[in-house]
């Protein structure tokens, strides 16, 4: 039996195949906590001063808040009943240990809230292990290995989640190096803390709302006999617009787009070249594409081609959009390739690796965007694919219209989709469409009035002030361009002499005349 310490937790790996790691509180105080199912609130209050994921400053401990943990402790208590024998064993050994170490002077001076604020449990049931490993002894070993690794990282004060969900087990078991697993654990820890904080904030807000309702109760019948009192939650002039109403309107527009507008193809065939994390990002971007297309005034008829149902990307995408494969969901998900669906000569593959610029958006062409996130593998997959299928290739005219700064010229899928949507909507206004290229990639050192910069002083304080300026928004694209011209957009003034520049020799000649 492996004990992490005398008081709070016991780490136990059983000898037979029922592999599980149970971390349980053994001491009397923790038992009482099991019974009440509450967590000592002072834990949170104490930690909230400096901890990284500290909760809201004005947060007051509420009874409801511990429900998250109550659930866990309830699970634990069930497990306790299940494994009474086991528990008896543990108790015995604990007694043995305490009796053997009577000199043990260490933990007496710790008070009651010395307990772990969170109890950790990364155990798996037999059925879960069977499902995870299919009885493969190597994988069972790895499960044990990961559980130990979790414990060791925690013991060194590292950031680990208190629970690993089963879907996350499926991912973590595929990771083959220590650093990858560690990063994944930190990621899980952060999401756990985020969820906890969100829950807390929500409950706080609910409390406030409840209080507000209590403070301002609805007028009684005597005060307001005809229900005509004006205000929120009372009588008002405007109908409330529900989300479903807005969705219906948007969907109606996409439906008409599916009948009358040109298709935009998202090529989902790059799944094998992406790791799980990239596939997840890719699914997220596809989701954004779908939502952005839906709210756009002139949407495309979206096609997801080469969409293998069992691929990582599609699995993630189905997780975020459960209705993806419904008949009435406004998107075309096809397992076959675009080459089989559309006429070959109309297809144009958009890839950053080619050298042909897409000068004009053509309504008759069908544009293909590769749904791929290439953070780890920089090889030109989309170029190879388009070459193999003998398709026309184009890239965005970034260099023609933008002053490029740092960063690669490949854009995310949703940025590409937005650019294509806007270039079509504005009838070929690239400057408006390329607003969706992230500003960090553009050249910010570009100065709007180059002749004001003296040589060697281009990076003085004034340019710093210019860097801090924020983008001004305008619905009229020309105004937008005018207001944000110093953001690295190429303008004709750069190349033609500006009025300022012309004035300089005039002044000189005046001076000469004076002399």
């Amino acid at each position: 039996m492996y004990s992490l310490s005398r008081i709070p937790v016991t780490f136990h790996i059983q000898q037979n195949l029922r592999q599980r790691v149970i971390i349980k509180s053994v001491s009397s105080v923790s038992k009482s906590r099991y019974s009440t199912g509450k967590i000592h609130s002072s834990d949170y209050v104490a930690c909230s001063q400096r901890s990284p994921f500290s909760f809201h400053r004005n947060w007051k401990p509420l009874q409801v808040l511990s429900s998250h943990y109550r659930q866990y402790s309830a699970e634990n208590s069930i497990r306790k009943h299940e494994n009474t024998e086991e528990h008896q064993e543990q108790k015995d050994t604990v007694n043995e240990r305490t009796s053997s170490n009577e000199i043990d002077s260490s933990p007496d001076d710790f008070d009651a809230d010395d307990f772990t604020q969170v109890d950790y449990d990364v155990s798996l049931t037999d059925e879960q292990i069977q499902e995870l490993t299919n009885g493969d002894p190597e994988l069972i070993k790895k499960v044990k290995y990961i559980q130990l690794e979790h414990a060791v990282v925690r013991e060194e004060g590292g950031q680990v989640p208190s629970r690993i969900k089963f879907k996350n087990w499926k991912e973590i078991i595929l990771l083959d190096s220590r650093s990858k697993r560690r990063k994944f654990l930190v990621y899980l820890f952060k999401t756990e803390m985020k969820e906890l904080n969100a829950r807390r904030k929500k409950e706080e807000k609910a409390e406030l709302r409840k209080k507000e309702y209590e403070d301002n109760p609805l007028p009684s019948k005597e005060e307001d006999p005809y229900g005509m009192a004006y205000g929120l939650t009372r009588n008002a002039l405007f109908l409330r617009l529900y989300d479903t109403t807005i969705n219906k309107f948007n969907h109606g527009r996409v439906c008409s787009a599916m009948l009358h507008h040109p298709p935009l193809v998202l090529d989902c065939s790059y799944d094998e070249h992406m790791n799980p994390r990239e596939a997840k990002n890719c699914a997220k971007q596809l989701e954004l594409v779908i939502t952005e297309n839906r709210v756009h005034p002139e949407p495309f008829n979206l096609y997801l081609c080469n969409a293998d149902r069992n691929s990582k990307t599609m699995n993630y995408l189905r997780r975020v959009i459960p209705t993806l494969e419904d008949d009435n969901f406004v998107i075309n998900v096809k397992e076959e390739s675009y080459v089989d669906i559309f006429p070959h000569e109309r297809l144009v593959y958009l890839t950053p690796h080619t050298r042909d610029d897409l000068d004009e958006y053509n309504e008759d062409d069908i544009y293909i965007i590769g749904a791929m996130v290439d953070k780890t593998d920089p090889r030109p997959f989309s170029l190879a694919k388009a070459k193999k299928l003998d398709l026309r290739m184009k890239r965005l005219p970034l260099d023609k219209h933008l002053m490029w700064g740092l960063g690669g010229k490949s854009l995310t899928v949703n940025q590409m989709a937005k650019i294509m949507l806007d270039v079509r909507y504005t009838r070929g206004d690239w400057k408006a469409a390329l607003n969706h290229v992230p500003m960090r990639k553009l050249c910010r050192e570009f100065h709007p009035y180059p002749d004001q910069i003296q040589e060697g002083q281009s990076n003085n304080g004034s340019s710093r002030a210019f860097l801090q300026r924020k983008e001004k928004k305008s619905l009229v694209y020309e105004d937008f361009e005018l207001m944000n011209r110093r953001k690295g957009f190429r303008r004709s003034e750069m190349f033609t002499p500006s009025p300022n520049r012309l004035q300089v020799p005039k002044i000189r000649s005046l001076l000469r005349d004076d002399d």
């Binding site: 000199i103 260490s106 710790f110 772990t116 790895k142 013991e155 950031q159 220590r178 050298r355």
Partner: protein, 577 residues
Amino acid sequence: MNLNTAKVLGRLLRNPVGGSTIQRHVFQGSHRPFLLRNTPQDATAIFNNFPTIRNSSSSVSHHEIKRENKYNVDINELESTVSGIRAHVVARALVDVWVERMTLICKEFGFAELMDANLDWSALINRCKELDHILNKDTVGGVIMNSCLKHQNFALAHNYMNWNRNPTLSVLTNFMKICGENIDVCGGEDRLIQIYEKIKTKNKGVWDRDSGERVIYSICKTRLWKDSFEILEAISVGGEPSPSCYGNVAEAAFRNYEFDVGWKILHEQANRPLPDEPFVAWLNACDPTEENMKTLLEFMDMYDQYGYQKLSSAIKVYYSTNLGYKAEDTDAVPDGVGFVCKVCKNPLNTNTLSDEEFRVLQDHFFNRVLKSEDLFMNTTGEELQSYKTFIEETGPFDWILDGLNVSYCKARSGNSPAGVLWDAVRHFNSQRGKILIIGRKHMMQWAVKYINRIRRNSRLYLINDDSEDDPFLIWATLKSGPRAKLISNDLLRNHSFRLQDPELGRLFKRWRLSQQLSINVDNRGRTFLRPFVEIVPSPQKNPITGHWHVPCEQDTQSPYDVPNKWICLSPTVDKQK
């Protein structure tokens, strides 16, 4: 001590300053910039030089009472020194500063005293828990042990282990590593084995990489070193153990005179960077013959593992004491024809590929890099076919130029890139060799004047704009025989990776270093050629004079991953007789 002085003292101890200017800095106030020098010795010196600070920290001058209280450090004062640190590492930083302070104190009073001193562990742990809510009593123990390991403070770790009788697994493994580092102090092999047994009962034969490697480090110093194979196997369930870990095992094998086991491990791990220790252990353990030395040198040559400072000094000692050579550091200096040793003036041979190695490289390069998994990634099928026939009909060439790379090396001001390329071609024309230039099709838009001249004086092959030109270039050079030279400033590193075999990658690196020349064209159109490294090193014996020359010390490597230091070993007079 007021708060300001406490802050200054804390900063002093965190960032020790050096030199004679310290006194002024401390007593004139903290506004002056500190000279930062992170050597603990300096900090100790400062601490010793300031009786006032020392007294004020314990605040009692009487010796006996001071002895009792000297370990009671004010935690709030220490905390003020870590105030600028991000919130979620503040507790860790506090522990680190605390351990550092303890190390400083006991460097003055001796480590032996600290081992049984009465330290206020619970105050530290309580404060850490307040600072960081993910820490508890046990996890703070892990943090403390990590810091002890970092500051190599065995006494403090020992003290903690006495205080906490039920340490966690990570505390135990960390402590075992500290014991392994201080094996003379901690109580010898028996203590280590005792801890090892304790750990084994706790983890039930499952070893994660962190704790496993710590345990291997220590267990290799005991009679149970063969257990490390079991641990290695257990670690590799979740990923490959680090090469230094294998190095420890090999070292133990050599120390216990099991040479076959040791060399087997080293050969398996030879493609990863290995530490010096196993090789030094080999030199210490083996019989002092030249044959044994040769096995080491062959290993170095075969896997390009030239070791670091420890190994080079061990080689020098081995040769001078055991084999009767005189060992000296040396450099390769140019001498008209080739390179000679600076000390003994004997010529040094550069490391070239043998015919068979060259053929292997030639065969594999076409399939693995030019074709690769997906032919369309680099080129197209038609293009590759036409290029192949072109090379077979017109080759072999003497100079193969990377057209785009050459034309973009420092351009003549106001001249087109084509002009630079023409300058280079003119230079090679005077060398009397067949020239091949590989470029892309968009080069046809360059100045027609120069392109026509280039066409008349060399072979120009233009590939598609979206094809990658490096593989074409390398393959043309390989196809033109072992003498052809490649002219490009590109380091071509990714191609050795694309060969997908470390053995081939090493061959490719050697070939590239010997056959590639970097080029520079200056403003007046003069062309300068320079090899990437002066001499491709390999350990070698001069057959006539019996001198050995061994390249060494990879930490002073040039940007092209080759050692540039040599050891010259000249046989003494007795030896020659």
